[in-house]
Symmetry: C2
Subunit: 309 residues, 2 copies
């Protein structure tokens, strides 16, 4: 039942010794979703013991090299490993040209279908679903066509309280009805509201990925209340003009978004290579949003399940 973020790379455009460019894996109960694919992603997957075959879909935020250049090696390696299952890639429209280039020059051994779904939206839209999970894309505010992603566990089926079953002598059909969220009418005509009978077995978890972007008004609304928000923080506050000119965010802006959105936890990354020491980044972000953590390459951030009963 895990819902775990695995950090593969935390650099921005210029990688440094211990920071690969952007890539993450969201592990949802053992099924892997790759988010961005900077150069070196495949070796990081190996280093973190993540199976290439279990990657079901890839989400590419935008077509800058530091979010993309690992895709060629990864697709090649999947072919060499004998993948046959379809791979879905969600990426901006122009990715079709990248894929065409790859397939025409390096696609000879690729025996698995690759399906590119073009991202093109002005507000959040659902782009993918699998058991227990849906994914939305939403536009970000960057120099080029760029999207964020919201990964949400679907609402689980309601559980019926055992002692209520006994109290009212509920039958199989009534229990099924209650699990669907319906109120129950007893044989004597009494109406029992669903809320009295049932409870959520667990709270659905959510993760939002926002890289690369300058701040904009709608973003906190679109990621409202998520359990974990990844927001790029390319620069510390002293570089606010540069961040603005390059359509990136500072620590303060990332933290303000987390605060405005009322998220539970913020993780920042995509650091400028000029800052080998990141304590400034952490201190600044925490001054606005205390529950902030720095991402480091190879970090594992688990979102534990909250079970009820």
């Amino acid at each position: 039942m895990n819902f775990t973020l695995k950090i593969l790379g935390t650099a921005s455009a210029l990688p440094i010794s211990d920071r690969n460019p952007s890539a993450q894996v969201l592990d949802v109960r053992g099924r892997l979703l790759l988010i961005d694919c900077g150069e070196g992603t495949q070796v990081r997957l190996r280093q973190m013991g993540l199976s290439f075959i279990k990657i079901e879909a890839i989400f590419i935020s935008h077509l800058h090299g530091d979010h993309l250049f690992g895709i060629f090696g990864l697709l090649s390696t999947m072919a060499l490993l004998g993948r046959t299952g379809k791979l879905e890639i969600f990426a901006p429209r122009a990715f079709s040209s990248v894929l065409k280039f790859f397939m025409s020059w390096f696609g000879e051994g690729v025996k698995y279908p690759i399906e590119h779904h073009s991202l093109d939206c002005k507000e959040p839209v659902e782009i993918f679903s699998m058991k227990n999970l849906t994914v939305q894309a939403f536009p970000l505010n960057h120099k080029v066509d760029c999207y964020g992603f919201l990964f949400k566990e679907t609402m689980p089926q309601l559980n019926v309280k055992k002692w209520k079953i006994e109290q009212y002598g509920l039958g199989v059909a009534q229990i099924a009805s209650a699990k669907r969220g319906e109120d129950i009418t007893l044989s004597d005509g009494e109406l029992i509201p669903n809320a009295e009978l049932t409870y959520l077995p667990y709270e659905p978890r959510s993760y939002a990925y926002c890289s690369d972007t300058a701040p904009f008004e709608e973003l906190p609304l679109w990621v409202k209340g998520v359990d974990l928000l990844y927001h790029e923080a390319t620069y510390p506050q002293e570089m606010t003009p540069q961040a603005s000119a390059r359509f990136h965010s500072t620590t303060i802006q990332a933290a303000q978004c987390a605060k405005d959105a009322g998220v539970k936890k913020l993780v920042i990354g995509h650091y400028s290579s000029k800052y080998p020491d990141l304590s400034l980044f952490l201190n600044e972000a925490r001054s606005i949003f205390p529950d902030t953590v720095l991402s480091k390459d190879r970090d594992v951030i688990d979102i534990p399940i909250k079970k009820y009963e």
Copy 2:
């Protein structure tokens, strides 16, 4: 006066945790030549403290991804670092399409000239020279158009023995003439052969790179007597049929080439991912050619200068 090989990657098609795909740097007195450019090359350059700006030329053996997919990130990073100096890339003809793809989608910030020289030869030809060094390309025996490279220090100018200058009372013009390798006629008509007057200040050093290739007859002749030979050894002997089918070499075949060529030292690499432990590779190669070493990612192999006088 260093002449030093720096190993950036030693994996074959499937990289593993501690082995990047193929890339090397030959450091010739501080000027850097990059040989192949597998994914992750730019981070390895950082890890090994190698300057991106000092790379004067790139030599790509063939257009398989594990020798190439780092080029996109490297060219982008050179642009971000503000490179202005021309970059020469020696690669098979089809590289022009790869470069065209890169420039059309990711070349916006590339302000330095990139010159692609197409490799196309049936026997060794000189393709590049700089102060103190020439580079030859020669064809290898692989599935696709593939080339090896021979890096040779140029012959240094002869030194004239000081005590011979005194003995014969040589003047400036005579010394210059002797340095050019000419015999000297003294004022009394006596002819002094050049060999009596001069000596080589140092022995020119040489390095040959051979990846990927199946064995073939001419190869030992083309790399004859080099100080250091890198020869791929994708497989141990037990995989000889697979090596042959895939146009690769085994440990034994790499070592036999070194032996037939009479090289001074052999370094092997491009290991199959099936073998995390490489002691078998070393033992097999040494059974044929004792002066063999394994390459490991981040290894530095210096070829010391041999000075005379």
